[in-house]
Structures are given as C-alpha cells and as structure tokens.
C-alpha cells in the first residue's frame, strides 16, 4: 500500500455506509464501548469533523470530533476518538486524520482543542504530543477499565491560557 492510495474525506451524510464503517472501526479497537447515541451525537452535529481514511474504498481509519463553546467564553474543540485499522497503522494515517481535524477546527476559530487518553496508550499520547498537545491534568480512574487518563490540550489562541472565569463573555468583545 502506498500512502498516496489513502483518500481522506469528511463523513458523507448521504452515504449511510460511512457512519456504519466508522462505528465498526471504532468498536473494534477502542477499549471503551460506546452506545449508538454517542456516535450519532458526534456524526449528526459535526459531520465535517468526522473524517474517514479510505484505501481502495475500504474505511481504514476515522476520527470523530466536535467543536462547541465552552462556558460561553472560548471555542473548544474536542477529539472524541481516532482509530486506524491494525493493518494500516504506523504509516501516518492517524497523524493525517488529526491534522485535518485540527485544521478544520482552527478554521472554525477554535481557541483550544482537548481530548482525553489513557495514560498507558503510548501510541495515542505520542501522536498528540508530537503535534503540540500538553498534558494538563491527570484524571484518576477515568475509564471503565479503571485506568487513569490524561487531559491533553492544544492551545490555539491565548484564551487557552486564561482561566475561563477570567475571560470576558463573547458578546463583550467587540
């Protein structure tokens, strides 16, 4: 397989197979089991932030994310999950997916992008920290399997370095 064989595109709302593919991929590889509600929640509201990686028509990687106002003071992007089919790993697919999502979020004026990952998930931590994500807190027994997690944050604007209680609400900024 060649990296150029991989095609990346956002979720196609008109193609129900996309959503099914994403769910199948994630169910297979993510330690935390999620209900259909969780998928729908992300995919129906932020289809542009769900990006698929396809190789010869087969979905081999996907990322799911959302972007919302946090405490009414900053735009916060959140990466829900990213997963790459085992046989396609270590070829930069996840990196590309994350990059695409970040670019999209930055375009949509994200102030910061956050996510959580298990403290023992070296692959994911490496992936995000190489981009510039910083561990900001440790979350005790965060996951169902009882592992701790790190909250990782990627600062985009300086709003990310001010406590939200000290940020002016958006309407007061002209």
């Amino acid at each position: 397989m060649n990296m150029s064989d991989i095609i990346y595109h956002p979720l196609d709302a008109n193609n129900p197979q996309d959503a099914l593919d994403v769910k199948r991929l994630v169910d297979l590889d993510i330690s935390e089991p999620y209900s259909i509600y969780v998928y729908r929640f992300f995919l129906s509201q932020w289809p542009n932030l769900c990006i698929l990686a396809k190789c010869e028509g087969k979905t081999v990687g996907a990322i799911i994310a959302k972007l919302e106002r946090h405490r009414n003071v900053r735009m916060r992007g959140y990466i829900g999950m990213v997963v790459v089919n085992r046989s396609y790993r270590k070829q930069g697919i996840a990196k590309k997916l994350v990059n695409l999502v970040i670019e999209e979020m930055v375009k949509e004026k994200a102030d910061e992008i956050i996510l959580e990952t298990e403290v023992i998930n070296e692959a994911a931590i490496g992936l995000y920290e190489n981009i510039g994500f910083l561990r900001v807190k440790r979350l005790h027994r965060y996951y169902l399997n009882q592992h701790d997690a790190y909250r990782l944050v990627l600062p985009i604007t300086d709003k990310s370095s001010i406590r939200s209680a000290f940020l002016p609400p958006p309407d007061s900024i002209i």
Partner: protein
C-alpha cells in the same frame, strides 16, 4: 471519553415495572425525525456515554450467554451434592477478603470482586428480600440457625431435614462421628459459620460504601458508582452483623470441639483462621463509629481557659468509657487487634496455600462468576474477573500495611497531637497528613497508588467534622489556622486583639461555648485565650500570669460602653501580661490600670484622643465586628476547602489546589483591605520596622509600609499552594521531561517569593521584639520616680497615653512628695513594676521562638529554591548538549497552521506579546497562576531571558566553550551542595527535636530526605558528565556540541538521561541520572 455518571438507585427487586416499549414506539419515537439526535439538559453526550444500549453486545450484559459451567455456577445452591467443608470456607473467605481490597485499589469493580461470589449474591438477595430466616427449603440453601440453639432444637431440625441428610452424610465417613453429628457439623458450618463470615465481609463493604457516600469521595473515585442495583442492603445489615458473627464463632467452636489438645492440629488452625476473620469483621464497625465520636482537645474542668490549647490532658482515657463522652485519646485497641489478626494470616500463609492446593471440592473454585453482571441490573458493560495472580498479589501483608497499619499509625499521631496540642505540633501534624494523602506511589496499573481511598476518606471524615471542628472537639479548624497565623504574624499585634476580641457574639462557636463557659467571647471563643494559650504551651508561662481570677480591663472611659460585663472578662493582654489579681488594692486601681495600659500599649487604639478604649469583645463597635466576622467566615471556607482536599486522590488534589489559588488570592485581597482598615481607620499602627513611640507621629511614618499581618499570612499560604500545585505535577507525570526545566525555574520563583514573605514576617517580628525591648527599658525607668517625670514628658505627645499617664503621674507625684503615707504603696508599686518586667521578658521569649520558626520555614524554602534552580540549570545544560529526552521539541506544523489562521483573520487577536507556539504552551502550562495578582505571573520571554543568561558557554555554530561550560557545571554543583547543606541542617534539627520528644516530624522528614537524595543524585550526574567531557582533553577550549554528543554515546552511555519519578509527595523533583546502556 467516559466519566462515571450518577446512577439513581432503584430497588429493582421490589419495583413493579411496566413495559412502555409499544407506547414509546407509537408515540414518542414517531415524532423524532430520522438522523436527529435527541438532547435535553438532562441527557446529552455525557449521559450518552453511559447509556447501556440494548442488544449491543459490548454494553448489554443481559444479552450475554455464559458457557455451560458458568450457568451451573449461576444456579449454585447450597444443597448441592457435595456440601462445603471447613476447607472450602477458608478458601472462599480468603479469596473474598483479598477481593474486597482488590476492589478498593486494583482497577476492579464490586461486581467482579466481592459480588462475583454466588454465595454473596445469594446472601444479599435473601437479605434484600427480608429473608433472614427462611422456609425449610430455603434455610437449607442459605439461612440462619439463629433459632436452633439447644440440643432439642437441633434434634428437631435434624429430623425435619432428614430428607436432605444424604448429601451431608457423604462427608467425614471415617471420623467415627454419628450421622447426626456429621450432618450438623456440615450443615452448621455452611449455614452459620460461613454465613456469618459472609455477612461480616459484606458488612465491610457496606461500611466502606457508607464511608465513601458520606460525601468526601468523588464519583470519579469509582468505588461507589458501580454498585449493581437491587442489592441495596448496606444500611440494613449493620445491626445484626456482630450478633451473627458471634453466633458463627460459637457454632464453629462447637462443631470443631477444639480442646487445648486439639489446638495444635490442622483443625485447630483452621478454626483459628475463621475466628480471626470473624474478629476483623466484628471490629470493622468500630472504625466507622469513631467518625461520630467527639474528642476533647480541651479540658473542660480547667477554668482558666476557653479553648484550652494550654489545657492539661488526662492520659489514656479509655475512648469507650461511657462516663467519658469526650475522651482525649483515641482507643486504638480495635485496630491493633485487626492488625494482629492480619499478621496471623500473614504468618499462616503457607498453610492456607496448602489448603487451597489440596482442596478437591470444585465449588469453592467455581462459585466465583461473571453471572451477577448479567443477573442483576448492572450499569456497566461486562467486565472480566480479576486474574489469579492479582488476587494472590493482594497479600495479607499488603492489606495489613496499606489498610490497617497505616490507619493505626495515623491514629497514634492523632493521640500524640491530642496530648501535645500546640502550634508546632499541629503544623507538623498537618504536614504529615498532607504528605501522606498526597503521596503518589507506583503507576504500574495505569493508576496512582498512594494512600488508599479508605485512608483518605476516613482520615478526612475523622479529622474534619461537619461542624468544621477538629476531631469533633470544640476546636474549630479555623481556630487552629488562626492559631498558626497568630504564631507567625499575630503575637503582640494589635490586629490580633481586634480579631480575637472583636467579634460577633452570634458566632456559633460563641453560642456553643457560652453556656458552659462564660469566659468565651470573641469570634471563635478564643478571645483572650486561644492564640496565647496555644503558644503558651510552647513556653510554659507560669499560671499566675493568666490565672482564672484575672480581672478584666479597666472600666471603659467612653460613655457608649457603660454596661459592665457580668462575666469575668479578660483581655488578650491578660495572657502573659499584667493582671490586677495579685494586688489588693493598695495602689489605686486606676494607676495599675494605666500602667497596664502602657505595658500593653499595642492593644490599645484610639477612637479619638479623648476616648481611648480597649479593643475587646464588649466594647468594639458593631460595624467593626461585622467586618471582622465576615472576613473570618471567608477564612473559614477557604481553609475548609483547602484542608478537606486530603480526601481526594492525588490527581484531584492537584486540581483542588489550583482552585485554592483563586480562593486564597481573593482572600488575600480581602485581608489586605482589612489590614489597611485597621491601620488607617482604627489606628492600629503596625509597621515592618520598629518606630520608637516618640517618632510615631512624625511624618516619616507615612512612608513606612504597614505590617499587614493578616494579608501577609494569607499570601504565604497562597504561595505555598502555588508551589505545591506546580511541583505535584512531576510525580503525577503531567510534565514531559523537556518541561521540567521551566517548571523548576517557576518553582524557584515561588520559593523565592516565599522567602521574601517569610522575611517580611521576620522583620515584623523583629520590630515587635525591638518594641518590647524599648518597653522594658521604659518600665525599668518607671521604677525610678525621678526618671519617670522625664518619661512623662516624652510620652506627653502621645495621645494614647495622655489619659493614662496623667493618672500614673498623679500617683507618682504623691509617692515622691508624701513619703510617710506612701511607703507601702511604693513597695506595691515596685513589686508591680517587677512583675511587668517579667511579663515583658516572657513576651520577648515568645517572639524569639516565633523567629526560630520563621527561620526554619525560610531554610526549608531556601533548600527548595536551590533545588529548583539547580535542577533547572542542569536540565538546560543537557538540553543544550543535545540529550534528546530533555531537548525542547519543535512544533512547526501547528505553528504554521496557527500563523496562517491568525494572518487570515483579524478578530483572533492574542493577549500576549509573544505569539510563538512555545509561548502558548507556556501560558497553558501555567494557566493556574495567570489570574493571580501577586506575585506577577511569569512570562515565556522572561523564561527565555533567564535561561539564555546562564548559557554563555554556548557559542555560534553549535560550539561550546569548555571553560565556560565547566564553570557552569561548577555553579550547578554549588547550587546542589547548598541544597544539601540546608537540608542537612534541617534534618539535624528535626532529629534533635524528635529526640527531645518535641514533635513528630515524619512528613517534613520525608520531604527533606527526598530533597537530599535528589540533590546528591543530581550532583553525581553533573560530576559524571563533567568528568566524561574532561576525558576529551580538548586542545582548544572550544569544542563542538556534536563531539560531546558523540562522546556520550561512545562512552556507551545511553545518550539519554534516564529519569525516575520517585515515590511520595516529596518527590517533587525528577531524579536525573546518567546511565550506562
């Protein structure tokens, strides 16, 4: 992406359910358009992540199918072909006991540990259904023998159950016992002894769940949010547990007929094991009962004190004596007994293992299953049962150390504190509690492993009660904090008089105490007594100076306060100060009072020149009281949150510290406002340096910074919190190695500020000492009536003294002129004068002690500062020499993305000057400090400047100036040897203290030894590196970085620094080591 959601508890078994599926499909579902996500304020993503989707095989445990063997176990009954024997019971209880503790810490859930045992499930179901004593059929399965106590009753039972006896008779064929005996033996074992042990075990669980539910353990702690529904029996069990256990013991003994001769046999041992379990289970309730017991930090019979920091304690009062409702010591007997039972298990481990290995009955192995996860309502997806090595790993030794010994040792500390309650001991005690609760152990299982959740929640609940008292005593948390504050900043301060004297009588503390002790006044009832008494423990001021008969302050000259206080009030000045009690009115009282006034000058302030009055509870203005009470309320809530943090896991503790920074920051603002108000409005003039009285009204005064004792102390707490928040990130592995440099650089800044603020406190203290010395000289002069006249002149300018001096003056005048009539008066005057001097000397001694404490604190922060500085510099050098693990990474991709976005949009204007991505990371990393007023948050460019300043050894083109690098190494070594020296001094002092039996300094001791270890390791690392580079013997003093990097590699060093995050809260510093590959 998941957090534990709140799960409403429903009594599934007793609830009637209605199937609404068709209704839902026909009505609600039809109105939802396809591809639409239903959301409401009570249901969105968070709830969605916890939804258990029906028929989703990952989530719906009811859809699970178990292998055939599993379902046999699921149907497990107690009338199986092969009934349980003694061995089985030991095996099952042993496993359940370990599982209980595995549940608490090893990434396990209740349903995969204790509840995975079908016997437990059955028992709980019986209990839930209220079936304590069941029908004949049921009782065979799992009931109690409660009703069958006499031989006749047993005969009756035996005949009733004959139809079942076959299976019981299969056992013990050769032991020569009668069929009845054999039957009963097995029956009883299963139904009474085993049952009682299970109840005891479940009770442990139940006690712990109640403990966790008491509101101090957060849901994310997980231990409480994962109970399968339908087994809500926790609250119902407690009463009968001990009874049942006792009954179980009796029957077990009966059955085994253990005589003295038998005791050494295997059965004797097995019985002993069972009884030891039973003992532990019985004692469990004691632990939770302690949480509602009140202890006494004061001696209520001692009428000299209100709060009684200085009270004498009766030793070893039995906590369980009903005649002593408020004991002064915790009776730890029950814990000692639990610990010794555990030690017994520990010692008998080989025998237990043998029992397990030789046991052939399959049921003790098969009775643990995943079945409960399917059978009972379950809020979690299916989970695996713990691996057998995990169960074995939860050894009795581990359980004992982590759960029982740790609590026992802590209670010993509590008893020590209770018996020796004073400022220093309380501070040491707090250090210990914070140290223990915040300690981070290994990360083996992807989670932290510090003090257990049981320790954290129990200690918090025991120490800090709902009414914010300490150990349920009548001492409030806030009081001890103010006691601390007073020690460092308040002694001999007019502010303090204001704080402790001028308060709302409505305060609960006052109300609570006023009924039994009329002397209680002031905000915390500490009015005259608390701080001084607190301190007095350290000094043993003779009782005569604060005797209970102390008469209060002089009648107040101002008209507003005509009402005489009915009670015997004492001013703060009375403690360790002058009282009229020792005089019998030979000298006019007004004279004595005026003298008092002069001596206790600080405690006086002026309303106006004409109406000087004492700031005490009875005459302070209502508006002043309100101001103070409000402020102290704020202190209380801030301190409460700060102290309650001990119940949190280390990760959350750090988050709470971050919040405390904001709280302390606003408290500091309020405190400063208050300090300035007392300074400017109330005229309590205190400065950071001594101003002789005659100069006080001069203009220089305006330029002197006011002392601001309260704000200074709050600032000190805030800085401590900031430093802790920062350094605690290291053991939690929140920082990447490349960040350690700037974390330590920031740490040095906080430590430096702490030193500055402590120095300020010291200056104020010195000023007070100078003032006292000045006073001593003044009083000495007063002894000589001739000199006195001169002094009067000097003092005349002083408005405060005008009134009183005129009184004294009159008296002095009479004594000099009318010699005959006044000789006795004069001798009284002299005695009185001597007493004044003595008191002043004692006050001085107190302040000297304070100075000593302040110096200790300063030394501590000096050592932290040099450790931070050294570590920062060390990491910078390694980063510059290209040691990759600490090299600063580059994030070019994201930098470009952000740059592109900000150039294309004008609206996203940044707040800071430095817009590099590194600066953003810096800002994010230290976000918690961004809102703080003082000290100024540091910026990234400051970091860059500070760092490059130390890097003169770097020249262009990747070259290094060896000479300069060497001297850089030397200066780092110097920094660490400074740390070592400072730490060693402190350790020596602590050692001396503890050999004097003064205080337990375990918490501090650990912090210091860890600092010592790190500084030695870091010196070694630098030394090694220097030596290694020296082997290059450079011809030219300039060498290339690449050569050095190559050298490190060629010497077979990993080319990396191996780093270790040590154990305990004290390991705020990474251990940086150079290791051979």
């Amino acid at each position: 992406m998941a957090e534990n959601a709140f799960v409403p508890q429903i009594d599934i078994l007793n609830t009637q359910f209605t199937d609404v599926t068709s209704l839902f499909l026909s009505l609600s579902a039809s109105s939802i358009p396809p591809n639409q996500v239903v959301q409401s304020s009570s249901f969105a993503l968070f709830e969605g992540t916890h939804a258990l989707e029906i028929a989703n095989k990952h989530l719906d445990t009811s859809a699970l199918t178990f292998p055939a063997t599993e379902s046999t176990v699921a149907d497990f009954n107690f009338n199986n072909d092969s009934p349980l024997q003694f061995d089985d019971i030991i095996i099952i209880v042993d496993k359940l006991f370990r599982l209980t503790f595995l549940w608490l810490e090893n990434n396990q859930m209740l349903s995969t540990t204790v509840l995975s045992c079908v016997y437990v499930e059955k028992l709980l179901l019986n209990y839930t259904k209220g079936k304590k004593i069941t029908t004949k059929q049921d009782s065979l399965k799992f009931a109690t023998l409660w009703d069958y106590q006499t031989e006749e009753e047993l005969d009756q039972l035996y005949s009733q159950l004959k139809s079942y006896q076959k299976e019981y008779l299969q056992l013990s064929q050769t032991d020569g016992q009668s069929p009845r005996a054999r039957f009963l033996k097995n029956y009883i074992l299963t139904h009474t002894t085993f049952r009682s042990l299970l109840i005891g075990l479940v009770n442990i669980m139940s006690q712990l769940i109640q403990l966790f539910r008491s509101g101090v353990v957060y849901e994310e702690e997980d231990v409480i949010s994962q109970l399968p529904q339908g087994l809500e029996v926790w609250n119902k069990m407690e009463d009968s547990v001990c009874q049942e256990l006792v009954m179980g013991d009796i029957w077990a003994k009966k059955v085994e007929c253990v005589t003295e001769a038998d005791a050494a046999t295997t059965n004797g041992l097995k019985l002993e094991l069972l009884l030891s379990y039973s003992n532990i289970f019985k004692k469990m309730n004691e632990l939770t009962r302690l949480l509602t017991r009140s202890f006494n930090l004061t001696n209520s019979n001692n009428d000299t004190i209100g709060i009684g920091y200085g009270s004498e304690f009766v030793d070893n009062v039995d906590a369980s004596t009903p005649t002593n409702p408020n004991p002064t010591q915790v009776n730890t007997e029950f814990l000692e007994s639990m610990v010794s039972s555990l030690s017994f298990f520990e010692s008998k481990q080989p025998e237990v293992t043998k029992i397990i290995q030789t046991n052939t009955n399959i049921y003790s192995a098969q009775c643990f299953s995943q079945g409960i996860q399917k059978r009972l309502s379950n809020t979690r997806p299916l989970n695996k049962l713990p691996a057998s090595e995990d169960i074995a790993g939860m050894s009795y030794a581990v359980i004992n150390v982590r759960y029982f010994k740790s609590l026992m040792n802590w209670l010993k500390e509590v008893n020590y504190l209770m018996a020796n309650f004073n400022v220093t001991n309380f501070r040491r005690f707090l250090e210990l509690v914070f140290w223990k609760s915040g300690s981070v152990g290994s990360f083996d299982c992807g989670t932290t492993w510090g003090e257990t959740v049981v320790w954290r929640s129990w200690v918090q609940l025991f120490m800090i009660r709902d009414n914010k008292s300490l150990f349920g005593s009548d001492v409030k948390l806030c009081e001890v904090m103010l006691g601390q504050m007073n020690w460092f900043a308040g002694i001999e301060s007019g502010w303090l008089n204001m704080a402790f004297g001028g308060c709302q009588p409505e305060h609960p503390r006052v109300n609570a105490s006023s009924s039994n002790n009329v002397q209680h006044q002031g905000v915390f009832g500490i009015i005259d007594t608390d701080p001084m008494e607190f301190i007095q423990r350290d000094l043993s001021i003779p009782k005569s100076y604060h005797g209970g008969d102390a008469v209060g302050l002089p009648p107040k000259p101002q008209k507003k306060n005509k009402k005489k206080s009915k009670s015997k009030t004492r001013s703060p000045a009375d403690v360790g100060s002058l009282s009229l009690s020792s005089f019998n009115g030979e000298a006019p009282a007004s004279i004595m009072r005026s003298l008092e006034m002069i001596i206790n000058y600080d405690l006086v302030f002026m309303e106006s020149a004409k109406t000087p009055y004492y700031c005490s509870s009875s005459n302070i203005k209502v508006s002043h009281r309100e101001k103070l009470t409000e402020l102290l309320g704020q202190v209380e809530s801030t301190v409460f949150e700060w102290m309650s943090n001990i119940s949190n896991n280390p990760s959350r503790q750090r988050q709470i510290l971050s919040r405390s920074i904001v709280n302390f920051d606003s408290l500091q603002v309020a405190a400063e406002r208050f300090d300035l108000w007392t300074h400017e409005e109330l005229g309590i003039k205190e400065y950071t340096q001594f101003v002789p009285r005659k100069q006080q009204l001069s203009a220089i005064l305006r330029d002197l910074p006011p002392a601001l004792p309260f704000a200074t102390y709050v600032y000190y707490l805030k800085l401590q919190t900031m430093l802790q928040y920062l350094l605690k990130g290291t053991p939690l592995q929140i920082y990447k190695p490349w960040e350690w440099s700037c974390v330590n650089w920031y740490g040095a800044y906080f430590a430096d500020n702490l030193i500055i603020v402590l120095n300020r406190m010291k200056q104020c203290n010195t000023a007070k000492m100078q003032k006292l010395r000045y006073k001593i000289r003044e009083v000495e002069k007063l002894e000589n009536p001739a000199k006195f006249a001169k002094l009067v002149e000097l003092m005349k300018q002083d408005l405060v003294f005008k009134y009183h001096l005129s009184e004294v003056n009159k008296f002095a005048g009479t004594t000099t002129t009318t010699t005959s009539s006044s000789s006795s008066s004069q001798s009284v005057y002299k005695t009185y004068n001597h007493q004044c001097l003595e008191i002043l000397q004692l006050k001085l001694a107190k302040l000297m002690k304070v100075e000593d404490s302040l110096l200790d604190e300063m030394n501590y922060y000096e050592s932290l500062k040099s450790m931070c500085r050294g570590t920062h510099q060390l990491l910078e050098v390694y980063s510059n020499l290209g040691v990759s693990v600490v090299c600063k990474p580059e994030f070019t991709w994201i930098e470009t993305v952000i740059a592109k976005a900000s150039s294309s949009s004008s609206s996203s204007v940044g707040f800071s000057d430095d817009d590099s991505f590194m600066a953003k990371l810096f800002g994010l990393r230290f976000k918690s400090f961004s809102s703080v007023g003082v000290p100024d948050p540091l910026t990234f460019s400051q970091f860059v400047i500070a760092t490059t300043k130390d890097q003169k050894y770097l020249s262009d083109n990747n070259m290094v100036n060896w000479g300069l690098l060497k001297s850089n190494f030397d200066s780092i070594l110097l920094e660490f040897s400074r740390t070592k020296k400072l730490v060693k001094d402190q350790l020596d002092k602590l050692e001396k203290e503890s050999s004097d039996g003064v205080s337990n300094s375990f918490g501090k001791y650990n912090q210091l030894t860890n600092l010592l270890k790190c500084s030695i390791q870091h010196s070694l690392t630098i030394f090694k590196t220097k030596q290694m580079i020296e082997t290059l013997e450079p011809e030219s003093p300039i060498m290339s970085k690449t050569d050095i990097a190559k050298l490190i590699k060629s010497q077979n060093y990993a080319g990396e620094i191996q780093y270790e995050v040590g154990e305990g809260e004290a390991s705020w510093f990474p251990l940086v080591k150079l290791v051979k590959k």
